[in-house]
Symmetry: C2
Subunit: 456 residues, 2 copies
């Protein structure tokens, strides 16, 4: 009995599904409240859609689909001589599994641009696949939960995304900090340092502030060829103090000479003004060290941390002004966020924050005593289900102990017993499995009690 | 702007998602009512799990994943000389995409047998992939919706599956016929014909009764080497008349000499007895011509047809006594059904049976007249959402016409307008987009009206 699944992939049984669906349904319901609509794209995309979008490293992590049929036919003779996987692959593989939801979404927008209603608010909750080395918390197949507004420059979109983040974690009872930065401010910083062409190096270095500290960041910048004078100019920015208003005011004067920097400050100011009027649970703070790896962000950058567990970001996102440009449709601005369901799962597990009763559990099990009792039970069972109560009858008249064990292991909160006595009285014995309490009830009472959503 | 997706795959926009989710959610909610619990398995399975389970043809239709990294390293020299795709493939590909949900489920049951609670009632709604030639109604990526009970011989399971089928199509308003047969009866028939070893040929032939008629079926059987005498014995069975009770009675005497045949009749009788006590919308009938291609069925066989559209079966299933045997765990009996969501979609489209209001639509759009109005609107919008009302504000103060067009195209049933007048009166103008009717309302009234689930 040797059965296994590919490394980095997982099976999900009912208990995990219940917990995972709790997260997904919470996120999706909040997306819907804000007017976002679902789309789905195929698991497989043409490699021409995927390649070159995730950097050289990303290309290597794509799962490629072997062409169907006689796939070697198109391989030129010299490739058989060469035996180099890299140059062999394009002749035997034209499709790959999606690596994220962003590139397929960009492709979707371009492909369907004439049918879509802009600004287009879409959400997408689907699996993605990456041939990463599997390790704790990193899988080769996992879900992404993305929401994006595309075709609108308004900063109200950014503000509403912060509200969505707040609502999701409020419902999940996870205390969070939303960290906000703006790519234009980073560009402004690079500009006043006289390093406008080095923005990537500088932001990557800034991103490491938390991890390696000021001195090492300065070292790295030096190594990358940023001048000591520029680094000196950078330092006060990295060590900025005060509340958001104070920081923005200081930045505005430091970046006085940079047009893009001023634009970034304006955007941050507008966003923080919106956020100040909202009734939020989450903390929101400006974080200039926040750059995130993704090069396509052009405005706001978001990152969410859980306050009660040391774990990476549990949500992130930002504005990108040219996502669809890679597919030939320039000038379409978008802003989006992505919830990290796997990490949120770990946070909820850590906080014991999942609902106590499985969302996927049956509410009541009817014990099966035999044919006559079955015939007595089935019509009532049918009525229960018509009242929206998830219920089941044990399919055969097995030993009582076995049936009770089944209810226990399936975490079914109520068991209904109907033997000769109950049948004579036209009643049912309802047993609460957690308290052990039993009561004799009519079918009407049974429906009434089991319809209640809390465990009694 | 050349964007495309692999042939046989599809993008689903919000309108299609709404309709598809209507089907999936209906099916899943009924599964849950009957105590079934969801599981998910990985998209990729080891090829050792998949190969040989779907016949030679099925093996060819598997999508294979190219091994990551330097995949040519493991290919022996002679394979490069040979250049035969079939013998080359195993050295460069170890994983494949799942082809159905049944084999992964069998693998799941064997792999997790010590954690599962038997009888295990699972449902699974996931995509499957087949490298079939795409054509109308046949895709390379599609969903399957399966429910199975594994680890129980009781025919009550079969009966409840019929009830589930009835409930699903009752909720979807699709009139159906559930056709039922039993593999043991077919085996009994083969046995009394003296063709016990030819059961596959005979059932395949019987399966064609509907399509090619009695004479051609007889011809085919002759060609396959079934004796003319045996075929003569078969004829009265194929042409059996009367209601189910009469048919079962006739069959019982025809199959008097076959033990397995008698067992099959007993099972059918028990199932029909159960079904007779149920309050069903669907018609249920015995159909001896029903064999279905799948060889692993050992008891009941189900197939569901829509009464108001000529289309293939929209649901099917049956009992299999040895599903997990292929993975080394023999003797675990199961019974299951699978809903054909793609065909059900076509039936509902044909019958105009989808809900009129998109399930994924925003309920109200707030028109954006500018900053002051926005500030007036945002708190109310927030309250609406807290009341579970999907609502949005147009993100910028674009031309009124553009905003109304957005609402129209997104099929948003209500538009809320708040300009200087409304602000002065602390009210909102609510416009019903289908009737054109407008009314001036307070925020409380707004919440009350928009909370109603029907379109007013």
């Amino acid at each position: 009995m040797q059965t296994s699944i590919p490394k980095g992939t997982r099976d999900f049984g009912p208990a995990e599904m219940s917990r995972r669906n709790y997260i997904f349904e919470t996120i999706k319901s909040v997306f819907r409240l804000y007017g976002f609509q679902p789309i789905e794209t195929p698991a497989m995309e043409n490699l021409s859609t995927l390649l070159g979008k995730y950097g050289e490293e990303g290309d290597k992590l794509l799962f490629r689909i072997l062409n169907s049929g006689d796939f070697l036919t198109n391989v030129p003779d010299d490739k058989f001589q060469e035996r180099a996987s890299g140059s062999f692959a394009p002749f035997i593989s034209e499709k790959g599994l999606r690596y994220d939801l962003t590139v397929p979404f960009a492709r979707f927008v371009v492909q369907h641009r004439n049918e879509l209603v802009f600004p287009f608010r879409r959400f997408q909750v689907q699996t993605v696949w990456r041939a990463d080395r599997p390790q704790k918390g990193r899988y080769r197949e996992f879900y992404q939960c993305d929401a994006d507004v595309i075709g609108s420059d308004s900063l109200l979109n950014e503000a509403e995304l912060v509200q969505i983040i707040d609502q999701v974690f409020r419902r999940l009872n996870v205390r969070t900090v939303v960290k906000i930065n703006n790519r234009k401010v980073l560009a402004g910083i690079a500009e006043i340092l006289g390093q406008a062409d080095r923005i990537t190096d500088i932001t990557v270095a800034i991103d490491k502030m938390d991890k390696i500290g000021l001195e090492k960041v300065k070292e790295e910048l030096l190594q990358k060829g940023v001048s000591a004078a520029a680094i000196d100019k950078l330092q006060p920015i990295l060590l900025l103090e005060g509340d958001t208003t104070q920081k923005l005011a200081s930045l505005r004067s430091i970046l006085a000479a940079s047009e893009v920097g001023q634009k970034g400050i304006d955007e941050l100011q507008t966003l923080f003004d919106y956020v100040a009027t909202f009734d939020l649970n989450t903390e929101v703070e400006l974080d200039l060290t926040l750059a995130r790896g993704l090069n396509y962000y052009t405005g706001a950058i978001f990152e969410v941390k859980a306050k009660d567990m040391a774990i990476g970001s549990i949500c992130g996102g930002g504005r990108y002004d040219d996502l669809t440009g890679i597919f030939g449709l320039p000038g379409v601005s978008g802003v989006g966020i992505s919830f990290g369901a796997e990490r949120i799962y770990d946070v909820l597990l850590h906080l014991d924050g999942f609902p106590k009763e499985s969302l996927e559990s049956t509410r009541a099990l009817f014990v099966n005593f035999g044919k006559a009792e079955e015939a007595y039970i089935l019509p009532v069972l049918y009525r229960l289900r018509n009242h929206g109560i998830n219920a089941e009858i044990y399919p055969e008249a097995d030993k009582m102990k076995k049936q009770m064990n089944y209810a226990n292991r399936k975490e079914i909160p109520f068991v209904v017993l109907a033997g000769a006595n109950e049948m004579q009285e036209n009643k049912f014995t309802l047993k609460n499995m957690s308290s052990g309490e039993q009561q004799l009830v009519s079918s009407e009472e049974l429906i009434k009690i089991l319809s209640r959503h809390e465990v009694i």
